[in-house]
Amino acid sequence: MAAERTIWERMFWSWRPESSREAGDAIVRNFLLHWFPAKVLRESLSFRYSLWLGTIAAVLFFLLTGTGVVLMFLYVPSVERAYASVKDIEHVISFGWFVRSLHRIAAHAMVAIVFLHMVRVFVTGAYKNGVAADQNRPLNWIIGILLLLATLLLSFTGYLLPWDQLAYWAITVGTSIATAAPWIGDDIRFLLLGGHEIAQNALLRFYVLHCFVLPAAVLILFSWHMWRVRKDGGLACADRLAREQKREWAAPIRSKTYSLLGIARGRTIHVETAVIDEEEHTVPASPVLVRRLFLVVLGTLVATSLLALVIRAPLEEPANPSVTPNPAKAPWYFLWLQELVALTTVRISSYTLNGAFVGGVLIPGLLILWLAIWPYLDKSSVASVGVWFPTERRRQNLVFLLIAAGILLLILTGTFMRGPYWEFYWPWEPWPEIPRRF
């Protein structure tokens, strides 16, 4: 065991810190560990506060990048070859089925997790500035919204690539929702498809968006998002702690930058004088944060691998522009919009307001706008930063959760309770038999 440790230390940790300062230096000097601050708050490591949803989303993104690169080697983005190449991935490429299934599960999971991450940030008031200097959490919240939109688009653009009936008609419905945008709707669709029909141009565009443009955007936004977390003094729960300590110690905030998961602007890399309560509330990022991060990575990998083994990725008939499957559904995260567009056509005497506009553009547009500006309208006090369901923010949390639940309900209805001709069926009711050729 001694020999093992020696080898380990020789390879990875050739030197042992003698002081906190040395330990901090060591972390700052190491490229990989430099991602993290020298010390982190115990509270921000807890599963109870953050549920680690943002980290899981990032892990899923990197898992998707890995499996995606493998799939890029195997998939051919042409109308003639796309479907056959996916069939090959399913049937004759070793582990092709597994990699594809993993990619699909991780993609669906990422949409869900990013959404849940947003819910968590909202209900804990984590988009609010706390007590530390130079915070701009509302900006980070907006970056987060952009990341959610990018995630949805990534998943949506990936949907078309297998070029089967499911893909083709989900994209037909999805891009038709875009045409409901006033004035520019038709142009958006024309640009997105590179024509009026979903054909080779559309496939290539979706492919490039899916494999390069959107992942690059996510990577940049993600880096910015993380950088802002550091600049904002770590997770919002740090502000709660700082506030509590302020009551106890009345120490100047500026001197606590080190305890707030980061190094404040304009400082040298040298560690500042630690205050006593740091011993109690913080732990060194290496190995504690590294280990917990690894645990989260592993947990995500295990969960997606398990689901990938249980749920095989579907592949329907080859895309057939002349036959619409009954029912034709958008991908699940757009099904609430599909429900809305089916429900919200408004007729006032002879004037008809198309549901595609109300449900497809107006409502989601207003929702996003409301989300983006809410941090600036939320006038609750610093006391409700980084706290789950604070009484002060009870009403807005309730409204937010009701909207989220409504969206979820619409998605569940669309997914499980809509049958042929968009008729309503309870999950236990059988659909009429779908006719076949033979």
Partner: protein, 194 residues
């Protein structure tokens, strides 16, 4: 606590444990060592699992089926070939007919795989290849790096390391077409008599 000795051993175990190694002092002897053992096995399984993931991804890049031409190709009926050499562009192959004998020479340069060109000589040239002296009417020259081969494929100039490959010719029993077998190379004395 300024300048306090920051040392893993001196910190309290709950805060600063060693990575991957639990503190043996906290548990009673045998249960601690059992836990240690199980953890080690678990970490081993973890490494194996991660390795399994990565190798599955890498394995998927080695195709199991290929969309390629078969290696045994029918090239036409013997009587459809003219006397002398015929270049089959798509197959990168020269087929030679001398009355009723046939042989096939690959047009792939043995240096770096360019397609050699058959050069008809203005007048027959006598060359010495090994022991024999032959009279030849054509040669093969490679456009990429200037390798030169005699009419029987023997390299004599340029960077080419080996003579051009000769492939086996057969007659298909079902329809009498010539079949070239790209899997099987033959010597320069090979002749198929039809």
């Amino acid at each position: 606590m300024k300048n306090a000795k920051w040392h893993r051993r001196s910190a309290s175990p709950s805060e600063l444990p060693n990575p991957g190694v639990p503190d043996v002092e906290t548990g009673s002897g045998s249960s601690a060592s059992r836990r240690l053992f199980l953890q080690r096995v678990g970490l081993g399984a973890l490494l194996a699992g991660l390795f399994g993931h990565v190798s599955a991804w890498v394995r998927s890049l080695f195709p199991n089926v290929l969309y390629e031409e078969p290696r045994r190709i029918k090239i036409g009926r013997p009587e459809d070939f003219a006397e002398g050499g015929t270049f089959l562009e798509e197959r990168r192959l020269f087929v030679f007919r001398e009355r009723n004998t046939f042989y096939a020479i690959s047009a792939t340069c043995t240096h770096l795989g360019c397609t050699v060109k058959m050069i008809l000589l203005p007048q027959p040239k006598r060359v010495r290849i090994g022991e024999q002296t032959k009279e030849e009417r054509y040669e093969f020259h490679c456009p990429c790096h200037g390798s030169k081969y005699y009419g029987d494929g023997t390299n004599y100039a340029g960077p080419a390391p080996r003579p051009l490959v000769w492939y086996k010719l057969e007659v298909a029993p079902e329809d009498g077409q010539l079949v070239v077998n790209l899997e099987e190379t033959v010597g320069q004395d090979f002749r198929l008599t039809v």
